[in-house]
């Protein structure tokens, strides 16, 4: 009997690896790949954080805004810029590639940004008019998430031939990953460089916008105290709209970067998991806190890679969820605390 029991636990443990050697040898490579993932999480996390800071609302449909951004970027590259989807990479030289990437990114930003604003208009604004309970907002967000996903799943293929549906889009590979230089024996590819640098630049711009402009001051004021901010002449509705717009635009940018990293990942359900992870990142860094979203994103990306190295590829998603649960239990305010409202200039 005891023998049998031990045998059972061994077969249970057999599915969960614990490969320290793998983590040790590949440590720097896992770190650098993790940073690329983390940059994408961070950009999406900013969207969650801003909306949460201003409205105290988990915008559950934000992952679908990101997903629409992916389709927007794909549409732009495929039909507007004329890159036919194929398994091979286009290598048009650095200058042209950067130009094309820039155009696609702007298009994705426009798609995601307008989708986010539309979401605010259609779903959340009527609820605010009616002074709905927080639970009502969350359920609406879940409903919108359904609607957007299923729209791309079943309705989009009827509108644009070959788009949406149950299968992922044929990949368009604009940049072939190529090692640029090495850090501690780990290769840094051009794709990783583009992702991390663009994310950092965009995060910096967002930070400057929130902390140095008049609009940004309005955002912080509403986050701090909506009633007083309104009395001081800040239009709450306009601030909320701007917040959704910024979140959406960043999600669009993240969508293009994601497309560079995972060209075959453009599918109707592709935003869901990434959205939850980005939300985890936002919570990890301290939701409502811009810097926290950035730090949380990078941290989550790296930790996820370490977990994957340690326990095996199939446990990647579990690591992210366990991390989220642990953070909420140990320090629900996250690493940097919730501070969009209390930040001073």
């Amino acid at each position: 009997m005891i023998q049998e029991c031990i045998g059972q636990y061994v077969c249970l443990a057999g599915d969960i690896g614990f490969n320290v050697e793998n983590l040790r040898t590949g440590f720097w490579q896992f770190t650098i790949d993790g940073l690329a993932w983390g940059a994408i999480y961070a950009l999406v996390a900013v969207g969650y954080t801003l909306v949460f800071g201003v409205l105290r609302l988990i915008n559950f449909a934000h992952s679908e805004i990101f997903m629409l951004g992916m389709f927007g970027a794909y549409f732009c590259l495929d039909l507007i810029l004329g890159f036919a989807p194929s398994g091979n990479a286009y290598d048009r030289g650095v200058a042209l590639t950067v130009f094309y990437l820039g155009v696609a990114m702007l298009f994705a930003m426009a798609v995601s940004g307008s989708a986010a604003v539309g979401l605010e208009f259609v779903a959340y604004r009527p609820l605010r008019r009616r002074n709905a309970r927080p639970l009502t907002f969350l359920i609406t967000a879940i409903g919108m998430s359904f609607v957007l996903q299923e729209f791309v799943h079943f309705v989009l293929p009827e509108i644009i031939e070959g788009y949406g549906g149950s299968n992922a889009q044929q990949p368009i590979i604009l940049v072939q990953p190529r090692t640029q230089f090495e850090v501690f024996g780990a290769s840094v590819t051009n794709v990783t460089l583009v992702i991390v640098i663009s994310a950092l630049v965009l995060a910096r711009l967002t930070y400057l916008f929130v902390h140095r402009t008049k609009f940004g001051r309005g955002i912080r004021a509403v986050a701090q105290d909506p009633t007083t901010a309104t009395l001081m002449g800040v239009s709450r509705e306009r601030i909320i709209l701007t917040t959704f717009l910024i979140g959406g635009v960043l999600a669009g940018a993240a969508a293009l970067l994601y497309m560079l990293r995972v060209p075959q990942g453009i599918i109707y359900s592709g935003g869901f998991l990434l959205g939850i992870k980005a939300f985890s990142a936002a919570v990890l860094g301290g939701i409502g806190n811009l810097r926290g979203a950035l730090i949380g994103g990078f941290l989550l990306g790296v930790m996820e890679n370490y977990g994957q190295a340690l326990f095996g590829t199939q446990w990647r998603d579990v690591v992210a969820f366990v991390l989220l649960v642990m953070v909420l239990l140990i320090k629900p305010t996250g690493i940097l605390g919730e501070s969009l409202g209390t930040a001073r200039v």
Partner: protein, 387 residues
């Protein structure tokens, strides 16, 4: 518009005027008629694409889930997005104990479970295991804020599915567990494995219908238990926690304990439904427990009216029946059955804007006072009406 969105008010007025005996009588007639539906199926209700008995069996399971989720979401006001996790734990408990594919198979000749009653013996075990899972999840997470709870439970539901998918040595991974036990009852020469076996697949009284009847009995039992809980101290504490947690706490309600109770009871009911599912389908695999089903269950509760246990049964019926009815019906080249999530998503959004309390809302303030308050109110209204 208001009549369409609020059929509950008219019904409730009629219902609340009945005496207790009349209510029981109408209840018995109602459930009896429901039980006879698969046998005498009206033509307009029938599901041409799929067995009507099977549809009703599915409805019974989702109804049980909706009642359980209603305890958590509707009564105690805790948004649980990972409820499908408990459903999975219940189903996998039965499957792991009785499937020949599982290393933990305990059915004779190797184990102590006899084939004839293995399923029945596993149902209480499944409920106990799920209740324990609810306790383990609830104990640390119920201290976090409401909206965080939603995400933590979502993570839990996904972790359960990923575990089932990845622990291939135990759960057989994506291939799933075959040959789960079911009750061997009413065996005849034609049906050597009894009426609950999938061999009983022809006619109106097929195995789906039998599972529906079993589910219906369980629904009635659960309704009585949950109804009694609702009217007890526990139920009043739940309503207090839902309406204002701080106020409840300062009035001496041990909010954490009652939230944990709601979680554990809800989990056990979800586990029961999972056990039913495992028995009926005789096969358990990870994709069934996808997180999107969690949303669908939530949709049933919200649609029916959070907090109203009869309302959520109606919600469960809509959730199960409509996709099965629309199976194979085409509109402009799109299969309407495919669009279920789109429609349910839209329904959620529209309901939240125009009628957040659901089709059959519960009278929140009056629930605690019950009958006496209603009679008091009615007598107070009368002089006004006379004037």
């Amino acid at each position: 518009m208001s009549v369409l969105l609020a059929p509950g008010d008219v019904l409730r007025r009629w219902w609340s005027e009945l005496t207790r005996v009349q209510k029981w009588a109408f209840g018995a007639i109602g459930f009896g008629a429901l039980a006879l539906l698969p046998v005498y199926t009206p033509a307009f209700l029938d599901t041409p694409g799929i067995s009507f008995g099977g549809t009703m069996a599915q409805f019974a399971m989702v109804a049980i889930i909706a009642i359980g989720l209603n305890v958590v979401v509707g009564q105690a006001g805790l948004l649980d997005l990972g409820y499908v996790g408990f459903y999975a734990v219940g189903a996998y408990t039965v499957a792991l104990l009785t499937s020949p594919d599982s290393p933990w198979n305990r059915v004779a000749p190797d184990g102590w479970l006899h084939e004839n009653w293995a399923w029945l013996a596993c149902v209480p075990i499944a409920m106990a295991v799920t209740a324990l899972a609810g306790l383990i999840l609830g104990f640390p997470t119920l201290r976090v804020r409401g909206d965080y709870l939603a995400i933590v439970t979502l993570g839990f539901g996904e972790i359960i599915r990923l575990l089932a998918d990845n622990l291939a040595g135990v759960t057989n991974g994506p291939r799933g567990l075959n040959g789960v036990a079911y009750p061997h009852f009413g065996a005849t020469e034609d049906l050597p494995h009894g009426v609950f076996s999938s061999g009983n697949s022809s006619g109106d009284v097929n195995y789906g219908t039998w599972w529906f009847w079993l589910g219906l009995i369980l629904i009635v039992v659960i309704l009585l238990l949950v109804g009694n809980l609702e009217r007890s101290r526990v139920g009043r504490a739940w309503v207090a926690v839902r309406e204002d947690e701080d106020a409840a706490e300062s009035m001496g309600v041990n909010t954490f304990r009652f939230k944990l109770w709601a979680f554990v009871i809800g989990a056990a009911i979800g586990g029961l439904s999972g056990a039913l599912y495992a028995g009926q389908v005789q096969y358990v695999a990870p994709p069934t427990f996808n997180i999107i089903n969690s949303m669908l269950f939530l949709c049933a509760v919200v649609l029916g009216g959070q907090g109203n246990k009869l309302g959520v049964i109606f919600g469960a019926f809509v959730i199960v029946y409509l996709p099965n009815r629309l199976l194979g019906v085409e509109l402009m080249g799109v299969n309407l059955g495919d669009l279920k999530y789109l429609f349910f998503g839209l329904a959620l959004v529209v309901l939240m804007i125009f009628r957040p309390q659901g089709l059959f809302p519960v009278r929140q303030q009056l629930l605690t006072y019950g009958r006496s308050a209603r009679t008091l109110l009615a007598s107070a209204d009368e002089p006004k009406a006379a004037r």
